[in-house]
Each structure stands twice: as structure tokens, then as C-alpha cells.
Amino acid sequence: MSTLEIKDLHVSIETEQGTKEILKGVSLTIKTGETHAIMGPNGSGKSTLASTIAGHPRYTVTSGSITLDGEDVLEMSVDERARAGVFLAMQYPVEVPGVTMTNFLRTAKTAIDGEAPALRTWTKDVKAAMQELRIDADFAQRNVNEGFSGGEKKRVEILQLELFKPKFAVLDETDSGLDVDALKVVSEGVNRAHSTGNMGTLLITHYTRILRYIKPDFVHVFVDGKVVEEGGPELADRLEEEGYDRYLSGAGAAVAPAAQA
């Protein structure tokens, strides 16, 4: 049983107009086996939270803490965080020239586990996982994400999630840009990983659609860098009917779309 704890997190970025605070005090605790959905309108800081957990250099933590089983995550480098068990499924996975998927997956698995995976079972595992996610076998020989469609890139993110077996998965708008079939395939992958009982999931989404396939235990609504409402799955249903207008009509309506990053 592991715990990922975020306490009063304040995060800012440098822009041409100067320093801009994106997260204004976020607190969240996720335990193994739990699925938390973070929902909110564009520019509310959802993706910033995801990238900050993974350690993207663009984001500066000005105060607050992130700990994994008491260990200070903010002190860790990006790769150390991944090896500690944090996985970020990216919203826009980049293409990496010169590195085949096969080579990349094996190198990452070796780094995360601290030893090379047994060749025979590893090859079999990769093949099986690719098949379940309906990824063509020839992708293994292609360079990482190079020439993949948006949907293919997202599937490959979930492929990694299934193979690397992290303690905590942060899914940054994995559902956006997917058609219904792809959404199902991807959701099944997340559910398979989750069903091992060894993973906690932080699901970041703009839409409620993915929550038909991945059932959250907790729903947190993000507006303007803060959690404004929390509840169970019923809160997602309500959002599906009402949208975010309720939160935006108040004094905090001025949300800069540019803050979505």
C-alpha cells in the first residue's frame, strides 16, 4: 500500500509577462487501489498538476509538498520519480528520433526495475500487451511515436503503463482526441493495470465521457488552480449534466485560457 500526498501545492511558470501562478494551493491524497478523477475547465491547472508531479522543468513549485510514502518527490529528478513509481501518461507524447519502440521499452523497463527484464518473457509480454491495445506489431520497429496518429500515441502511453507497472499513474487527458472505439481500448488498458490492485490512478480529464469506462472513487473539480469541490462518482454525473458553468459564474470567472499547458 502506497500513498501519494500533495499538500498545499503552489506552482508557477515563467511567461513573457512575468511569473504566473497556476496552482494556488492544491491538496490531494491518493492511495493504492484508488482512482481519483480531476476535472475542470480549460486553464484550470489540471495539466500543470500532472506535469509538476512528473517533474517537468517548466513548472516551479513555490511552496507545498509532494511525497510518495513519505519520500520527498520534489527533491527527485524526473527519472528518479519514474523509478520511484510515478508514471505520467502524457497529453501530447513527443516523437523521439532514432530510438525504436522495442529499444525504448526495454531500456525504460531496465531503468525502472534496476535490472534487464528476462528476454523471453519480456518479448512475450510486450507482444501480448500490444495486441490487447490493438497496436500493430510493426510499431515495435518504428521510432518512438514517430508518425503515430494521436490515437496511436495514446495507446502507446497506456502500453507503457501496463508494462512498467507504476505505483501511481497520472493520466493527463488521455481521453482527449480519441474516438469511442479507441477510448474503450485505452480505458480497458487502464482498468487492467488498475485491477492488479497495486496502482493508484489520477485521471485528469476535461470530459466526463471516459468516466463511463473508468469508474472513479473520488472526483475533484479544479477551477483556477484550486480544488473547488470534491465528492464521489455522483459529482461526475452532475458535471455531465451541468457542465462547469456553475463554478465559473462566480468571482473567479476570469480564467485565462493560456494557462492551460
Partner: protein, 433 residues
């Protein structure tokens, strides 16, 4: 998330602030001589006809000055004018760093030549009057002509007819000091022979070298030219091959060490049915200038050529140049040709110039293609790989190794492949500091 955090070294972006002094996007002001003000800047770009005109003499009637066919070739040094740096084929080269290869009499001691060859191969040291000298090459620029005018002895390596060599011919050219010198090597693959020759350049030298390569009918020859010089070396190498009927030539250039390295491989088909592959790999570190200019002259029908050069750059003022010329002459019907250059820029402060030129004078060909791509290994790639648990140094190696391996694999000599893989690792390790 997707924005790149730095825009500084974007290739191809017009930059108000060049990252290598004196360099502009077009490159026409590259020559340090220009900076002296001794030569007036041209009123038009170097690609324009009028500026090219003054330097081209070999075109003859009906050959446009801008065509590669119009390039002056001559055994006489005096036929070549003094370089200004404005010439099309010198515009990227920092002449000041040539250390006299273009201006001095090349009287220094040439790199010593030691050859290890399997049985059957003839190795000779000959004088200037040997009849094989001039059998495949003719200087195409002043530096090459200067070496031709000044070399003392030449090494001639002959693979006898219908002999398939067991193992490679290893030629080690070890630098003998920093005085400007001239070198001459002739490689002859006689009819239906099959061989691999490795030219290993090492040590410290300032040398202009002419390598002539003759492939007689039906010969299959691979020549690997390794530039693993010390950091102070300056090396200009014109490597010209004459390809006989149905002969197969594979040429692999690997440039890793040296202050300034400029290799100009030329392949000319002398009869139909030949095949040429020109491969190159280079890795430029801070301050290095590595330049490669390939030329495939399709003067005969039904020949095939494929050119692939790949380079990595890291560190301040690392500069690479690739210019690929392919000329498909009117009579070269049935030609199939392709050329490509790919560069991977690993850090800020580098510059990769890449110019694929393709001239086609007949429509009756199988194919002709050219491509160039320069990409950046940037912070987002690094973040992606690190977010999968891969440490930074491993991530860099992963990318570069994968990228350059395509060329290394073409050598097909396990010992050299291993050595080059290690050499690339060392380059990367140097970049980590």
C-alpha cells in the same frame, strides 16, 4: 507541455543573432577572409550565376556555370585561383583554419603509411611518375591540386583480378606533425576482385590528401575512411573513384576527430551497370568543423547510386556541412539515384548546413531523389525519456546511438563496428561534462 522551452538553436529559423560568429543563414559571409574586409561582399548570393562565373573555367560550351559539370578540374595548381571563401565549394569552410593547405607549398612530412593486407594484395610506394597516378582522380579544387603538386611518394594498393580477399586491407595513416603536407594513395581493385580497404587517419597532422580509387569491371570494393585525428589536426581529403562496368563500390566516411576535416568523395561511372553507395557518419564536438561534399556523376546508363550521410552535433560552435551533388547526364538513361542527409543537433550553439543538389538532364530514368532533415534532440525528448525512468546520459546515448547505428551497420566488419560504437560513446561521454 508541448511548447519547446528554448527556441535558440532552431535550425532553419531566421535568426537575427547568428550563433557562430560570421555565419549567416545563407553562409555566404562565412569565410573569415570576408571579415578581414580584403574581399568585397558579393552583390548577390553565391548561388547566383554572376558570382559563380568568375571562378568556373571548366564548363565548356553549353554547360551552365551553376552545374556541377561546370566545375574546374585540373592537375595544375596554377589553374586554380587563390581562395577567397566566396566560392560555392568553399563558402562554408573557415579558410583561416586550413593552416596553409590552400596557400603554402605542402612540404611537411606526410602522415606515415603502414599497410596490413591479406595475402595476394600488392602494396607499393611509388614516385610521382607512376602511370597509375591520375588514373581515377583529377583535382576539383585548389587544396586538392596543391597536394597533387606537392606529394613526394604515393602508396599504391592493388587487389589482383578475380581475387576475393579474406579479411580487410588496413591502411593506417599516422600524422607526423603539424607542418602542412601532401599525401597520395591509389587503390586499384582489378577485374572481378572483391575487397575491403580501411583507411585509418590518426594522430596529429595538417594534410591535404588525394585518394584515387579504381574499380575495374565487375570489381566489388568497399573503402572505409576513418577520421579519428587528434583535436589539432586539419585534413582535406579528395577521394575519387572511377567505377568500371558492373562494378560495385561502397564508400563509408566516418569523421570524428580533428579540428577541421573536409572530405570530398566523388564517384564517376566509366561504364554502364555500376553501383555506388556513399555512406557517411560524423560527430562534431565543440569547435569542430566537419565537412563532407559528395558527388555522384552519372555519365553512363543503367547505373545505381545511393548516398546517405548522418551526423550528430554537440557543443558550442560545432559545425557540420554536407553538400551532396548528383548529376544525371543526358546519356545516363535508366539511372536510379537517391541522396539523403540527416543531422541530429544535441545542444545549443551548433550549426548544421545541408545542401542536396540534384541535376537531371534526362527524363528516362528509374528514379532520382534527394532529402535532407535536421532535427533537434530537445528538452521535450529528454523529458519524455526521463519520465520513463531513463537517466539523462542514457537517454542521450539511446537517441544518438540509434541514429548513427544505421551507418555503422553498413560497414559489416564487426571489429570496426565495435570500435566506432565505442568511439561514438566516447564522444557522448565528452558531451556530458
Amino acid at each position: 507541455m508541448t511548447e519547446t522551452t528554448t527556441e535558440k538553436a532552431r535550425i532553419g529559423a531566421p535568426s537575427a543573432q547568428p550563433y557562430i560568429n560570421g555565419f549567416t543563414e545563407e553562409g555566404e559571409n562565412l569565410s573569415p577572409i570576408n571579415a578581414d574586409g580584403t574581399v568585397a561582399a558579393p552583390s548577390s548570393g553565391p548561388l547566383a550565376g554572376d558570382s559563380a562565373k568568375g571562378h568556373s573555367h571548366g564548363g565548356g560550351i553549353g554547360v551552365p556555370d551553376s552545374s556541377r559539370a561546370g566545375r574546374l578540374t585540373s592537375y595544375k595548381l596554377e589553374d586554380f585561383k587563390a581562395l577567397t571563401g566566396l566560392e560555392e565549394d568553399w563558402r562554408f569552410t573557415p579558410l583561416r583554419r586550413l593552416r596553409g593547405l590552400h596557400t603554402e607549398a605542402l612540404s611537411g612530412a606526410a602522415p606515415s603509411v603502414s599497410v596490413t593486407a591479406p595475402e595476394g594484395v600488392t602494396v607499393e610506394t611509388v614516385g610521382r611518375d607512376d602511370k597509375r597516378i591520375g588514373s581515377a582522380g583529377i583535382p576539383e579544387d585548389r587544396v586538392s591540386a596543391n597536394a597533387w603538386a606537392n606529394f613526394d611518394k604515393a602508396t599504391v594498393i592493388t587487389v589482383p583480378a578475380e581475387t576475393s580477399l579474406d579479411g580487410e586491407v588496413s591502411v593506417v595513416l599516422a600524422g607526423a606533425g603539424s607542418e602542412a603536407s601532401a599525401q597520395h594513395v591509389v587503390i586499384v581493385a582489378e577485374k572481378f576482385s572483391k575487397a575491403l580497404v580501411v583507411l585509418g587517419h590518426e594522430g596529429s597532422a595538417v594534410v591535404s590528401e588525394n585518394v584515387e580509387i579504381v574499380l575495374e569491371d565487375g570489381a566489388e570494393l568497399t573503402v572505409v575512411s576513418l577520421q579519428e585525428w587528434n583535436d589539432d589536426s586539419v585534413h582535406a581529403s579528395s577521394q575519387q573513384a572511377k567505377i568500371g562496368r558492373d562494378a560495385k563500390f561502397k564508400h563509408i566516411v566516418v569523421s570524428l576527430g580533428g579540428n577541421l576535416v573536409r572530405v570530398t568523395p566523388t564517384a564517376r561511372f566509366a561504364a554502364p551497370g555500376g553501383e555506388v553507395e556513399l555512406f557517411g557518419l560524423y560527430f562534431a564536438d565543440a569547435g569542430q568543423h566537419l565537412e563532407h561534399r559528395t558527388y555522384v556523376d552519372h555519365a553512363q546508363p543503367n547505373c545505381v547510386s545511393n548516398v546517405l550521410y548522418k551526423g550528430a552535433l554537440q557543443g558550442k560552435d560545432a559545425h557540420t556541412v554536407w553538400v551532396g551533388d548528383v548529376l544525371i547526364q543526358k546519356q545516363a538513361e535508366g539511372t536510379d539515384s537517391y541522396e539523403k542527409n540527416q543531422n541530429l543537433v544535441l545542444t545549443d550553439g551548433c550549426r548544421a548546413d545541408s545542401v542536396p543538389n540534384l541535376e537531371i538532364e534526362t527524363g528516362l530514368i528509374e528514379g532520382a531523389g534527394h532529402a535532407s532533415a535536421t532535427g533537434r534532440f530537445d528538452d521535450e525528448h529528454l523529458f519524455y525519456l526521463m519520465a520513463r525512468g531513463i537517466p539523462e546520459d542514457v537517454a542521450r546515448r539511446l537517441v544518438v546511438r540509434g541514429f548513427l547505428n544505421e551507418i555503422i551497420q553498413k560497414i559489416k566488419v564487426p571489429a570496426i563496428e565495435e570500435r566506432l560504437t565505442d568511439a561514438v560513446e566516447r564522444e557522448l561521454a565528452a558531451g556530458d561534462n
